[in-house]
Symmetry: C2
Subunit: 361 residues, 2 copies
């Protein structure tokens, strides 16, 4: 079943209001969450709403955070999220990066004491309309094993980079630093299919194609899959995200990152506060005139998009193309939700007295 964006937005915002979020925060959190549904990153959209609610019920989310800058220089800041929703803290932090960039050319913000912040790409994209390059990354609950490690020590730790163009739409890379995101395993599980090699290892640390491998105590593998295919590079990238997001800010890092699921307790001996994010903004004209840059970006994009393809493929894609196509389609025709997600939202609606039985398309 397919739901109209505006109605799903109103419903979600109402839930955040019922949780005690101020109007402005509820609006901002809903924008972030719904942008995942629009862009096809379904695992990070309204499907997660009940997860945030459960964390709040467990006393692990502050819906009235006083988000503040605790240290700064002309081009940097550290922000304390005061235990707020990452969906609320992240847009504030990204805005600080953008303001720094206006004055200093670039702005770099590391955030502690936050929670999961939705999709990385949404935050990075905020810079683009300012003629800036935006960057966004976050650490996350440990589900990933470094190369040669049996233990889960890293999250899927995504990196997003959004780059403005002129007549062409922006370049938007938004990627987990693993071979495949957890959401893809859930799709395979529903279809009762095996996972490709190089995605996961079992709880003994051996490669497996069992799509339930992670649920059964195994781990996602870093981008590359195994050493021969460059998994030490995916591991390094995930580590850089962890260090920029948390060791720079004073958040928890590595295996100490608090779990997203409320039924798992955070480590009783944390090494920092909450989870961490990192944001960057670089003013294009801090390097060269914006028009010049954007016309070369157009040229870059057109050259790559028109490249001759390998057999069986139509077109070389530019990072961001598939998500943008989905966004247009879903804004026009609605957002499809799986039945378990619908039920989940309906029961949230019931709990908070917010009507979910709106007409769907």
């Amino acid at each position: 079943m397919v739901f109209e964006f505006n109605k799903l937005f109103a419903f979600t915002k109402n839930i955040f209001l019922k949780m005690g979020c101020p109007e402005e925060d509820a609006q901002s959190a809903t924008e972030v969450l719904l942008s995942a549904d629009l862009r096809g990153v379904d695992s990070h959209g309204v499907a997660r709403l009940s997860g945030y609610v459960r964390l709040w019920e467990a006393g692990r989310i502050n819906t009235n955070p006083k988000v503040k800058t605790v240290h700064e220089t002309p081009s940097t800041a550290v922000i304390d999220g005061d235990g707020g929703l990452g969906l609320v803290v992240a847009p504030i932090a990204m805005q600080v990066a953008i303001e720094k960039a206006r004055i200093a050319g670039t702005g770099w913000v590391s955030v502690k004491n936050s929670n999961h912040y939705g999709i990385a790409g949404h935050h990075a994209l905020k810079a683009v309309s300012e003629d800036m390059i935006g960057m966004s990354m976050t650490n996350a609950s440990p589900l990933v094993s470094p190369t040669f490690s049996k233990e889960r020590l890293l999250g899927t730790n995504p990196i997003a980079v959004a780059i403005p163009a002129g007549e062409e739409p922006p370049f938007v890379a938004d990627m987990a630093t693993t071979t495949a995101a957890n959401g893809k395993l859930e799709i395979l599980q529903r279809k009762n299919q095996d996972a490709p090699e190089g995605w996961i290892q079992d709880k003994e640390g051996k490669p497996t194609t069992n799509a339930y491998g992670v649920k059964e105590g195994g781990a996602l593998l870093p981008l590359g899959g195994d050493r021969e295919h460059g998994s030490h590079k995916g591991y390094a990238l995930g580590s850089i995200v962890d260090i920029f997001s948390a060791v720079l800010s004073g958040a928890n890092y590595g295996p100490w990152v608090p779990p997203f699921v409320a039924f798992l307790e955070p480590d009783p001996n944390p090494v920092g506060e909450g989870i961490g994010h990192f944001f960057g903004a670089m003013r294009v004209d801090a390097f060269r005139p914006a028009d010049e840059f954007k016309s070369h970006m157009d040229n870059w994009i057109r050259r790559f998009r028109s490249a001759e393809t390998t057999p069986g493929n139509d077109k070389v894609l530019i990072p961001g193309d598939p998500e943008r196509a989905l966004e247009t389609e879903r804004m026009a025709n609605g957002i499809p939700l799986l039945e378990p997600v619908q039920k989940d939202l309906a029961s949230l609606g019931e709990k908070f007295g917010v009507d979910f039985n709106f007409d769907n398309l």
Copy 2:
């Protein structure tokens, strides 16, 4: 055969002097080149010296460049390398990033009109002794096909990030954004072995395990190998390096990057000047007190290094561990050079009247 570091250094420096480099530039270029041999990135060390000489003979390297900043803000600069050796231009640009970071908290430098700059990690490491995080990336001759592309549009475009620790040695990631670097193919060719799947495609754009696939008109594949294993992520990373290095600075990008080999002509219709690099430096105490940061880095490194391993593996490595071990070993016991490289250096010595027949260990 194994060669003493100091003697190989003196020989190499003499060649650069004979090419007309000023004393200071010859010293700096040799430091960069030899650091590759020390750290085990043999393909980027003295094995490339004759390649640089041939480019100079072809009139494509200026050994007396006036390297200058052509645009700047408090935290950014664009540097024109004046057609100099990347080995000379890169250390100057990295130093500008470091000086910017002292004042503004961070410094970001994009470079145009340069040439190949040796190993990325060497430049990033320069920041570490200043209690800064260093970053370094460069574009390079097109050898890599984006996901679904038959054409080579990107170089192996490496990313290096060096992060200081306290008692532990620094974290140093230095990676091509491809599954495997070209140097690894040469090793397989010498051993007459096939390449693993996911490393290369043939000139038709089909996956191949032929280790000569790239030489025969095929391409290296982005990190991930194919779409199912995340090659769109490696492609995005290589693209980001290309854009930061060249579209920001005004260098050539994508398929227009001039080839490293002198026997291939640069594109007669360039889109910029020379090749491009990008450097960053972030003062750790622009975020939190350096001692605090470094003690948490020690904790991060120790936790990861002591992780329980997968079957058949001894230890989880920290990025930079293998290169540092080699550096210690080779500084003490000498640098091994393959026979073709020795012959190459001997004939360079003959051409320039520089004695290569020094006693080797």
